[in-house]
């Protein structure tokens, strides 16, 4: 969908300081460009729940982190994101890979398609679904709107494989 350089440039322009992340096959392809960025630091965590709380600490410390994970990791993240976003009310933005949205060749009948958007709704995370390469600007718009409102938010990136 996007080249790593596009994502890195976008995050630099948005003032993001840290990307707290677990890769999938789409997100992982962006790492090399992110790690070349002079202003964005990649923080690799072992499990997605960690990502929200590392980002929480970064935010409390004055940094501007985002969480970058796959939707499967979103499912794993429940207690941590509940705590960071709703108990502590930290406006942490996330980029979430939407597995199998574009095709189900690898995982026919992938239940990620059933649960991802309802789970985002259940956790009250306003999200923007990104399904085409020309929508990079929509991520920017949603990020900036969430920052202005002081709320969490997510860009849900359609993917075609695991």
């Amino acid at each position: 969908m996007f080249a790593g350089e596009q994502v890195a440039s976008l995050l630099e322009e948005l003032g993001v300081t840290h990307v707290v992340t677990v890769p999938d096959s789409t997100i992982g392809g962006w790492y090399a460009a992110l790690e070349r960025s002079p202003s964005v630091r990649v923080v690799r965590v072992c499990r997605e729940g960690e990502a929200w709380e590392v980002a929480a600490g970064l935010h409390l410390g004055g940094a501007t982190p985002i969480v970058m994970i796959q939707c499967t990791g979103l499912f794993e993240s429940g207690d941590a994101l509940r705590n960071a976003l709703h108990d502590w009310r930290l406006p942490i933005f996330s980029i979430i890979g939407y597995r199998s949205y574009l095709n189900q060749d690898a995982i026919p009948g992938d239940t990620c398609l059933v649960f991802t958007e309802p789970v985002l709704d259940a956790w009250r995370i306003p999200y923007r679904l990104i399904t085409a390469p020309h929508q990079l600007g929509a991520i920017r718009e949603h990020y900036e709107a969430c920052r202005a409102a002081g709320t969490a938010g997510a860009a849900l990136i359609a993917e075609g494989k695991a």
């Binding site: 840290h18 707290v20 630091r41 923080v43 690799r44 965590v45 072992c46 499990r47 729940g49 960690e50 929200w52 709380e53 590392v54 980002a55 929480a56 600490g57 970064l58 935010h59 409390l60 410390g61 004055g62 940094a63 982190p65 207690d79 941590a80 509940r82 705590n83 960071a84 108990d87 502590w88 009310r89 930290l90």
Partner: protein, 216 residues
């Protein structure tokens, strides 16, 4: 005693130092610009010792994630020491965070695990890491785990006097630092009570960081 060789403890947990005695030396040695994050039973005892603007009472918490919050704060504030007062049950819930921490390698982060072998706030049920809950009768050695994960400085203290003598030196060493304190099990003690709305406390904490010296 900084006894990193005192592995897989089987000592009766009732003979160990109290949680208060484990935290008091840290309370005395803590620098004015240090952040202290506390959770579960440690949060209850820490709050009882008084309040500091750079205390982050991680109540309500996400299960086991005090270490992750500490890592984030340490990365965002590299010129400030960040100390996490964790429990063994919480540590077991997020063991992977030890690997995450050593990958990021913040020299200003100190993880303190008060190991009493139980989930104290839910009624003192043994954790899977406790000697009493294990087939071989030997408790999990958190210091050995931390060492294997690559922590720069690893310590284990079985008594309050040794910990009290060493605390300043332990805090001053380049990290990431990991300390296990063998703490007595006490049943029937209530869990920590949130000191106020977390969202408001987040704002107050961030304001306190802005106005506080950073020197370690």
């Amino acid at each position: 005693m900084s006894d990193a060789s005192a592995t897989r403890g089987t000592r009766d947990v009732r003979d160990r130092m109290s949680l208060h005695d484990a935290l008091e030396p840290l309370h005395s040695a803590r620098g004015e610009g240090d952040v202290v994050i506390s959770t579960m039973g440690a949060a209850r005892e820490w709050m009882a010792m008084g309040a500091h603007p750079l205390d982050l009472i991680f109540v309500p918490s996400a299960m086991g994630h005090a270490t992750s919050v500490g890592l984030g704060l340490a990365l965002a504030q590299p010129d400030r020491r960040v100390i996490v007062c964790n429990g063994d049950g919480s540590m077991l819930m997020n063991l992977g965070s030890l690997v995450t921490i050593t990958a990021a390698a913040p020299t200003n982060l100190v993880i303190l695990v008060c190991d009493n072998g139980v989930y104290e706030v839910t009624g003192a049920q043994p954790t899977p890491g406790a000697a009493d809950a294990r087939a071989d009768g030997a408790g999990v050695d958190f210091a050995a785990i931390a060492r294997a994960c690559g922590f720069a400085s690893v310590h284990r203290f079985a008594d309050a006097a040794s910990w009290s003598r060493a605390v300043a030196q332990v805090l001053a060493a380049p990290g990431p630092t990991f300390v296990t304190l063998d703490v007595a099990t006490v049943a029937g003690i209530p869990g920590p009570r949130s000191p106020g709305p977390a969202g408001e406390r987040a704002k107050s904490f961030m304001a306190a960081l802005e106005g506080s010296p950073r020197a370690r």
